[in-house]
C-alpha cells in the first residue's frame, strides 16, 4: 500500500515536470539520421506537449565543422542536441572538455547497463558521460541469394574467412571473374581492416587510449586476411560510389559493412528485392567471434544550451526507450544500440526485401559479442596512416603484415605522441 502511494506520488511528480517543460529544442543532425530523429517527435510531444523540437539537417560534415567552430568559440551558436559519430567523438571531449554537458548530472548513469559497453567506451571520460549512445553498426555480410545459388555456394556453410575465400573461388569460376565477393576501398579507406581487427579484439589503440596496439596479433591477422582476399582475387577495389554501381550491375555477390548499409542496398537496388539475404561475418578461425562494429553515432548536449532539461528529455525519448529506437529502425533503418530494442516484435518480423529473412534479428543478435574498441582523439591520425600502410602492403611494399603494422605503429606514434605497446 505504502509502495503504491509512493509510486503514485512519483508518477504525479514526473507528470507535473513533463507539463512544466517548454520552449524550443534545436537538434543538429544529418541525412537519414535527421529524418530518423524527426520520426520520434510525435511520441516525444505526447509526453511533453509544450516543447517544440526543431531538427536541422546540416549534413554530416557540416555538423562536425560547425560543432568544432562552436566549441572553439566557447559554445557560441551551438544547438541543444548535437549529433556526433562515435569514432570522431573523443577529439571533442579532449580538446573542449567544457563544451558538452556531463549527462550524469541529468541522470544518465541509470542507462549504463541499457547499452552495450562498447558503445559507451568513446562517450565517457573518467566518470563523465558526454553523450548517449544512438545507433550502431554491427557488421554483417549482405549477399545475393541468386548469385550464391548459381555458383553453388551455401552461405550457412561459410564460417571462417578461409570458407569465404573458397566460396569466392567458386563464384569466380562460375562467372569468369566478373562477379566478386566484396568491394574493398583500398587506398581510400581502411574499413575492412578495422572491421576485421575489431572482430579479433584488436584496434589502433588500447581501450585506455594510452598505447598503440596496431601491431598486435589480432590486427596482424586482420591485415593478413585483407591481403589474402586480394591475393585470391575474390574482391574488387572500389570506393563507396563504385560499390553501389557494382551491386546494381550484378557484379557483387556480397558486401560487408555495418548494418546501416541495409538501407543503401534496399533503396539503390529496389529491383533486386527478394534476392538479397544476410549472414554473420565469417570468423578468423573456426568457432571464433563473428561480430564487429563499424560506425554508429551518439547525441550530446552542449553546455551552452538554455533548455537542458527539455533537450535531455528529447534524447531520453529517442534513444533510451524501445519505442523511440524502433521508430528510427522502421523509418530509416538505424540499428538500435539500446539492448531492449532487440526484443521488440518488429525486430522479429520477416523483411520481404531480404527474401523474408528476419534480418534485424540476425544483425542485432551479434551486438552482445562486439569487442570494445576506442576511436580515441587520434582516430583520424591513425586512420590516415593505416589507409596508406594497407595500400602499400597490398601493393607489396612490406614483406609481412607484421612488418607493415610495425611501421604503421611507428608512424601513428610519431603523429600522436603515444607509445607503441610492447
Amino acid at each position: 500500500m505504502k509502495k503504491l502511494a509512493l509510486l503514485t506520488t512519483l508518477s504525479l511528480a514526473s507528470a507535473a515536470s513533463a507539463q512544466s517543460l517548454s520552449g524550443t529544442v534545436t537538434v543538429w543532425s544529418w541525412d537519414a539520421a535527421a529524418k530518423a530523429l524527426e520520426s520520434t517527435i510525435p511520441s516525444f510531444n505526447k509526453k511533453y506537449p509544450n516543447v517544440k523540437v526543431n531538427v536541422v539537417d546540416l549534413g554530416n560534415q557540416n555538423v562536425y565543422d560547425r560543432g568544432l567552430a562552436g566549441c572553439a568559440a566557447g559554445g557560441a551558436d551551438m544547438p541543444d542536441v548535437y549529433s556526433i559519430e562515435n569514432n570522431e567523438a573523443e577529439v571533442f571531449w579532449a580538446r573542449f572538455p567544457d563544451c558538452f554537458t556531463d549527462l550524469n548530472t541529468l541522470g544518465a548513469a541509470k542507462y549504463a547497463k541499457s547499452f552495450p559497453a562498447f558503445k559507451w567506451t568513446e562517450l565517457t571520460v573518467g566518470n563523465k558521460r558526454y553523450a548517449m549512445p544512438w545507433d550502431s553498426g554491427p557488421v554483417v555480410i549482405f549477399y545475393r541469394r541468386d548469385l550464391y545459388q548459381q555458383a553453388g555456394v551455401n552461405p550457412t556453410a561459410i564460417k571462417t574467412w578461409d570458407d569465404f575465400i573458397a566460396a569466392g573461388k567458386k563464384v569466380n569460376a562460375k562467372f569468369g571473374g566478373k562477379v566478386k565477393m566484396g568491394a574493398i576501398g583500398n587506398g581510400q579507406d581502411d574499413e575492412w581492416f578495422r572491421m576485421l581487427a575489431n572482430q579479433n579484439g584488436c584496434f589502433y589503440f588500447d581501450n585506455t587510449a594510452t598505447q598503440i596496439t596496431i601491431a598486435k596479433s589480432g590486427c596482424v591477422q586482420a591485415l593478413d586476411t585483407v591481403k589474402k582476399l586480394f591475393a585470391n582475387d575474390v574482391v574488387m577495389t572500389s570506393d563507396w560510389g563504385g560499390q553501389i554501381t557494382a551491386f546494381k550491375a550484378n557484379r557483387l555477390a556480397s558486401a560487408m559493412f555495418g548494418a546501416w548499409y541495409e538501407g543503401t542496398i534496399r533503396t539503390n537496388a529496389a529491383d533486386q528485392s527478394g534476392k538479397w539475404g544476410v549472414y554473420p561475418m565469417p570468423a578468423s578461425k573456426a568457432g571464433g567471434v563473428r561480430a564487429s562494429n563499424l560506425g554508429g553515432s551518439a547525441l550530446a548536449l552542449p553546455s551552452s544550451s538554455k533548455n537542458k532539461a527539455a533537450a535531455y528529455a528529447f534524447m531520453e525519448n529517442a534513444l533510451a526507450t524501445t519505442n523511440g529506437q524502433v521508430t528510427m529502425l522502421k523509418s530509416q533503418g538505424l540499428v538500435p544500440s539500446l539492448l531492449t530494442a532487440s526484443k521488440d516484435a518488429y525486430v522479429n518480423q520477416k523483411q520481404p526485401y531480404w527474401g523474408n529473412q528476419t534480418v534485424w534479428k540476425t544483425i542485432l543478435d551479434t551486438l552482445g559479442d562486439v569487442p570494445a574498441a576506442r576511436g580515441t582523439q587520434y582516430f583520424q591520425d591513425a586512420r590516415q596512416v593505416m589507409i596508406v600502410v594497407q595500400a602499400d602492403y597490398i601493393k607489396g611494399k612490406y614483406k609481412t603484415a607484421q612488418d607493415a603494422l610495425n611501421d604503421a605503429a611507428k608512424k601513428i606514434s610519431a603523429a600522436t605522441g603515444l607509445p607503441v605497446a610492447k
Partner: protein, 297 residues
C-alpha cells in the same frame, strides 16, 4: 652656488594631424582584430601542443614533429612535383595562347579570349565534380575515348601516378586561360615599333618571339610565375575535391595536410606550424624567383 633650473622650454609640440588617423581607425581596428591578431596568435599557437588540451605550455614539439614527419615530407614532395611540372607547363601554354590571341590574323578574338578565361568562372566544386566523372575508371568519358582509339584504360583515381596527372590536368585546364589573359595584357604593353624595327632588320617571326617578345614579357611572366607558385604551395581545392588526397597520400598537398591536421584532427598547434612553414616556403620561392628572373626590372 645654487643651480637655477633653466627656464622650461616653451611647449611646442610638433602638430600631429589627428584627423587622418581617425579616418583610418575603423580599418585599423578591423585589420588588427581579423588580420594582425590571428597572424600573431597562430604563430604563438604553433608552439603549443594542442594534443595536450588547453593546459599545454609553450614548447617546440610541433616544430620538431614537422622536421621528422613523413606525411609532411610526402605533402611537400607532392606539392613540389605539381609545382615543377604544372607551373612551367601551364605558363608555356598560356604564353602560346596569349601570342595566338594577340594575333591580328585571328577572327572573333573577344570570343576566344572569353572562352579561355571561362573555366575560372565555373565554381570549383562543380568543376571538380565534373572532373571526377570524366576520369571515372569504369564509366568516365576519358577511358571511353582511350579505348575508342585502341589505348588501354587507366584507373585514373585509384592509382598514384594517374591521380597526380588528373590533378595537374585539372589545374592546367582551370588556370591557363587566366594566365593567358594577364600575359595578353603584357603583350599589348609592348610597343609596335619594336617589332617594326626588328622586321626592318630582317628578324624572322621566330627570332622576334625569342629575342623580343619573351624578354619584354619577362616582368609579366615573372608576375604570373610568382602568383602560380604561391597558388600551388597553397593548393587545396583540386586534391581535396577530386582525389581526396588519395589514393593513400598520393595527391596530398601541404594545403590538404594542413586542413587534415587542423580541422579533422583538431590539432591547431601543428596546423599552425605547417601554415608557417608554407608561408616561409612561399617567401623563399618568391625571393628566389625575383633574384633569378627579375634582375633588371
Amino acid at each position: 652656488m645654487t643651480t637655477v633650473p633653466p627656464p622650461a622650454p616653451p611647449r611646442r609640440r610638433p602638430r600631429v594631424p589627428l584627423a587622418p588617423y581617425l579616418f583610418i581607425l575603423p580599418y585599423l581596428l578591423i585589420f588588427a582584430t581579423f588580420w594582425a591578431w590571428p597572424i600573431v596568435s597562430s604563430f604563438l599557437m604553433s608552439f603549443k601542443d594542442s594534443r595536450l588540451g588547453a593546459a599545454a605550455g609553450y614548447g617546440l614539439s610541433n616544430w620538431q614533429r614537422l622536421l621528422t614527419d613523413e606525411f609532411f615530407r610526402t605533402a611537400l614532395k607532392n606539392t613540389v612535383i605539381i609545382l615543377v611540372i604544372q607551373v612551367p607547363l601551364m605558363l608555356s601554354l598560356a604564353t602560346t595562347l596569349a601570342v595566338a590571341l594577340n594575333s591580328r590574323l585571328l577572327r572573333a578574338r573577344g570570343l576566344f579570349r572569353f572562352a579561355f578565361f571561362a573555366p575560372l568562372v565555373v565554381g570549383t566544386v562543380a568543376y571538380s565534380a565534373v572532373f571526377r566523372l570524366l576520369f571515372n575508371g569504369e564509366f568516365g568519358i576519358v577511358n571511353r575515348a582511350l579505348t575508342g582509339v585502341g589505348l588501354p584504360e587507366v584507373d585514373w583515381l585509384n592509382q598514384p601516378v594517374p591521380a597526380m596527372a588528373v590533378i595537374i590536368l585539372a589545374m592546367t585546364w582551370r588556370w591557363t586561360g587566366y594566365n593567358a589573359i594577364i600575359l595578353l595584357a603584357g603583350l599589348q604593353g609592348i610597343p609596335e615599333d619594336v617589332y617594326e624595327a626588328a622586321a626592318i632588320d630582317g628578324a624572322t617571326p621566330w627570332q622576334q618571339f625569342w629575342k623580343m617578345t619573351l624578354p619584354l614579357l619577362r616582368p609579366t611572366l615573372l608576375f604570373c610565375l610568382v602568383l602560380s607558385v604561391i597558388g600551388t604551395l597553397q593548393l587545396f581545392t583540386e586534391p581535396a575535391l577530386i582525389t581526396n588526397s588519395g589514393p593513400g597520400n598520393a595527391t596530398m598537398t601541404l594545403g590538404t595536410y594542413l586542413y587534415q591536421q587542423g580541422f579533422r584532427s583538431f590539432n591547431f598547434g601543428y596546423a599552425s606550424a605547417i601554415a608557417y612553414a608554407v608561408a616561409a616556403l612561399a617567401a623563399i620561392f618568391s625571393f628566389a624567383q625575383l633574384r633569378l628572373f627579375g634582375r633588371d626590372s
